[in-house]
Amino acid sequence: MANSNKLTVTLRTLAGQAAKIALLVAAATIDPTGTAVAAIRSALDIISKAKSTRAAIKKSAAMAVTASVGAYEDDQDKVDLTFIDTNGSYTTFKIPAPKSAIFTDGVNVDLTNSLVIAFRDWVLSNAKSKAGATFTALVRGRRIRLAAGGRA
């Protein structure tokens, strides 16, 4: 658990030049529209001729999931899992080193596999498209391999 989060405020001058200021804020501060960030941006506005156009916070969390042995264990092996959202748009998640058990023939994903269903359900319940739309279904899964530098 980090002791601080990085807040980056983007400023633009009247001539359109951009500059960024990075500040560390408390680990509990994650909302760039919250009180702390608003106070910092307002204070910047007092001392700078530039306007503040964007505020972004980054927070990292360590995960202790260890790699395991498998037929497609190389991170350049991927499974493309394509979802459709309420706007009718498609989003493909590329997951590296797919487990061999999720494929019917080493290429096509078995959409009825319980491991695939668990991932699908997490996405349907929690993830959004870039446009903020809710996903409605997993429509296709397929294994791909990025050629450059991969192990044979």
């Binding site: 002791n3 601080s4 400023l11 001058t13 009247l14 001539a15 030049q17 500059a19 200021i21 500040l23 560390l24 804020v25 680990a27 994650i30 760039p32 529209t33 106070a39 910092i40 941006r41 307002s42 204070a43 910047l44 007092i46 001392i47 700078s48 001729k49 306007k51 964007r54 972004a56 916070i57 980054k58 990292s60 969390a61 360590a62 995960m63 999931v65 260890t66 790699a67 395991s68 042995v69 264990e73 190389d74 991170d75 991927k78 499974v79 998640f93 997951i95 590296p96 080193a97 797919p98 487990k99 999720i102 668990a118 991932f119 359900d121 996405v123 929690n126 993830a127 959004k128 192990r151």
Partner: protein, 144 residues
């Protein structure tokens, strides 16, 4: 407000990969154990980190002209943490009123709101509080 979650993977040889998810609201990445479990179910890769990014594009203030209204003109403000770590902030296009008549040293009364914001809300990398040390004008024009 959306949260972008970038999942950092590493396979058994240490090779990196990542996948990105978007979620509604401000989501603390340390709470996403269900996503880690779901990914672990379909991937042989290890998962090292969830990096969350939160962003707002609302505008605060208005850009104005002035003698130092160039992004390479800076007001430099230095703060020290309780453990002695230096935090230096370079504010672009400083307002001329930030400085005393010598145009180099800062007018503490003018910059006090920023000092108050930093000492109230900002910390060093270890989470320690900050106190104001000094401020001055700097210019970082690149050579053409």
């Amino acid at each position: 407000m959306n949260t972008q979650i970038k999942v950092q993977f590493r396979d058994r040889t240490g090779e990196k990969a990542n996948s990105t998810f978007h979620m509604a609201g401000t989501v603390d990445p340390s709470t996403l154990t269900a996503l880690a479990d779901a990914l672990d179910g379909i991937s042989d890769s290890g998962i090292t980190t969830f990096d969350a990014a939160y962003e707002t594009n609302t505008v605060v203030g208005a850009a104005a002209s002035g003698p130092y209204a160039d992004a390479s003109d800076k007001l430099v403000l230095e703060f020290l943490s309780t453990t002695g770590n230096l935090q230096k902030y370079e504010i672009p296009a400083p307002d001329e009123n930030d400085f005393n008549a010598d145009e180099e040293s800062v007018d503490l009364a003018v910059i006090q709101p920023f000092i108050d914001a930093v000492t109230t809300y900002c910390v060093d990398t270890n989470g320690n509080a900050l106190t104001y040390k000094r401020g001055y004008r700097a210019r970082t024009h690149r050579k053409s």
